[in-house]
Subunit: 313 residues, 2 copies
């Protein structure tokens, strides 16, 4: 992970700031929340770290390829452009126009396809170009290491942390951060993912319906972890589960108190802490009077224009 | 102003950060925007500065009184609490519940009244308490000096600024900043205020309808300047005028690019620059290839909860 941290220092990936927030629970425990603002990262999410770490270690590649209608696509487009390489992003026809435009603005070629044909479309692109490389959004060791640099910075930026809450979808960021912080990590998942059940039954795809999770956190709809993150996260024992209302309440608090714009996925870690009951809080964070908890605010890309225009019309 | 700056250093008023944004106009000029984030100030707006500067210079007062349903009320409540003094805020019955709750949370007593009776209600409170002092939101020299500390910080935080764009409503902040930055100041007003006409005709209340201005910028609905700000701003010659659509577009850009939550008033300075045509831009900011402009993002208090709940429902 320190390799990746040193590597990213010679890129324009940002050392994002940490801001503090406090909360006192009805039962009297106080938590100091250290928000790591990856919404202020290049391209608006932590994904710029993994994409950059991958691209910088692929000197022979002249084109990077991924399928994504979200933050990974924008991050890979940006990282490729920074390296002076080409980038192709395969997006579903149903992708929001704003996100597709962002990927184009970062200089990538956009190929639209049906959701069901995304893998074969990527394979066809790579088959036709020997210098093209596919970059998986999470199931890749270089991508995971890039995301793990968040943890190295966070340790440097805080005097003391008891725990760090990390959103988990495919598991790339969770695996990278766990490699650094080990048993300080508490994961947070959207309701329906059932990661603890999967870990307990040793079945990675326990909940492997082909349908994405039904959650407001649009960056966290993968049901199963990638296979590398799965291996890396075998020792995790603390997972918080959040529903849409908890996510929305955490977004409201983030906007109001920290005045920072996060997307729903970016509010899940805070949601996990704030919505915990006394028993859950104690089992994840202990029973100290004051606990210091790191919170990964992983992204800030939301459809601001319709949100503000609807509200002020 | 330096007196006020030194005074505020011994308070918990924040030296707010400055972040950069860039814009290239269709006619080729480039502007580097230095956003002074007063939305991250205590109580969510610059008003904490003026209120604190007033309160710290009133050692004999045991209670501070104002009428306000907005940022001045919250700021005075906070500043009074910091000094260990009492505070009473007179709010109209129609004030949004969220703002009233915020004023209460900062420890102030809230008195509800009809809008038309606000002045007499304040007078009645003060008449009954010889140690109570009324704090005007803008027509006061100590309040103006407090707001002017923004400019002292901004000069310290930037290498070079050609101009600074300052929102004007009652004129307290504009007067305070102009005392420091003089002819670098460009004011920005909501459409309908007609400040240039008022200055040209030497008629402070030229546009003195009793009705507040019809603008989305709810913190900037005063039609006329206060009389002290009016005197202080006689030499201002550059005023930008913004309509609701320009304000909304600047809010969207601030949320998307800076990932920071501003209220409509807080986006007016950016709106003034971004919506300027070539002629207006040249007359306010000159014709250099690259211009450095300070932008006062004066507040960040908006009704986040209904906005997010409507959007995600």
């Amino acid at each position: 992970m320190l390799d990746a941290s040193l590597r990213l220092r010679s890129s324009r990936v940002v050392k994002t700031p940490v801001v503090k927030m406090e909360h006192v629970f009805p039962w009297g425990q106080r938590v100091v929340l250290h928000l790591k603002l990856e919404n202020l990262q290049r391209t608006g999410s932590f994904k710029a770290r993994g994409a950059t770490n991958f691209v910088m270690q692929s000197p022979g590649a002249s084109r990077f390829v991924a399928h994504s209608a979200g933050n990974h696509g924008a991050a890979l487009a940006w990282a490729s452009k920074e390296r002076g390489a080409q980038c192709t992003v395969v997006v579903p026809r149903t992708a929001p126009r704003a996100k597709v435009e962002l990927i184009r603005e970062y200089g990538a070629q956009v190929v639209e396809t049906d959701h069901s044909k995304r893998t074969e479309t990527v394979e066809a692109i790579v088959a036709g170009d020997p210098d093209a490389v596919v970059v998986h959004p999470f199931d890749d060791i270089k991508v995971m290491a890039g995301q793990g640099t968040i943890a190295v910075e966070l340790v440097d930026q805080t005097e003391h942390l008891d725990s760090v809450v990390v959103p988990v979808s495919g598991g790339g960021m969770a695996a990278g951060i766990t490699a650094v912080l080990e048993d300080k990590v508490v994961l947070v998942e959207p309701k329906g993912k059932r990661l603890m059940d999967a870990l307990a039954s040793k079945d990675r795809t326990l909940n492997g319906s082909p349908e994405p999770l039904d959650t407001v956190a649009d960056g966290m709809r993968s049901r199963a972890l990638g296979s590398l993150p799965w291996d890396a996260l075998q020792n995790v024992r603390n997972v918080l589960t959040v529903d849409d209302d908890a996510i929305l309440r955490a977004m409201i608090r983030t906007f109001e108190e920290a005045k920072t714009v996060c997307e729903p996925s970016g509010a899940t870690a805070l949601a996990g802490v704030l919505s915990a009951d006394q028993h859950t809080f104690a089992s994840c964070f202990g029973e100290k009077d004051t606990t210091h908890v790191g919170i990964i605010v992983c992204g800030g890309n939301l459809d601001v224009e319709p949100m503000l225009r609807t509200f002020y019309s």
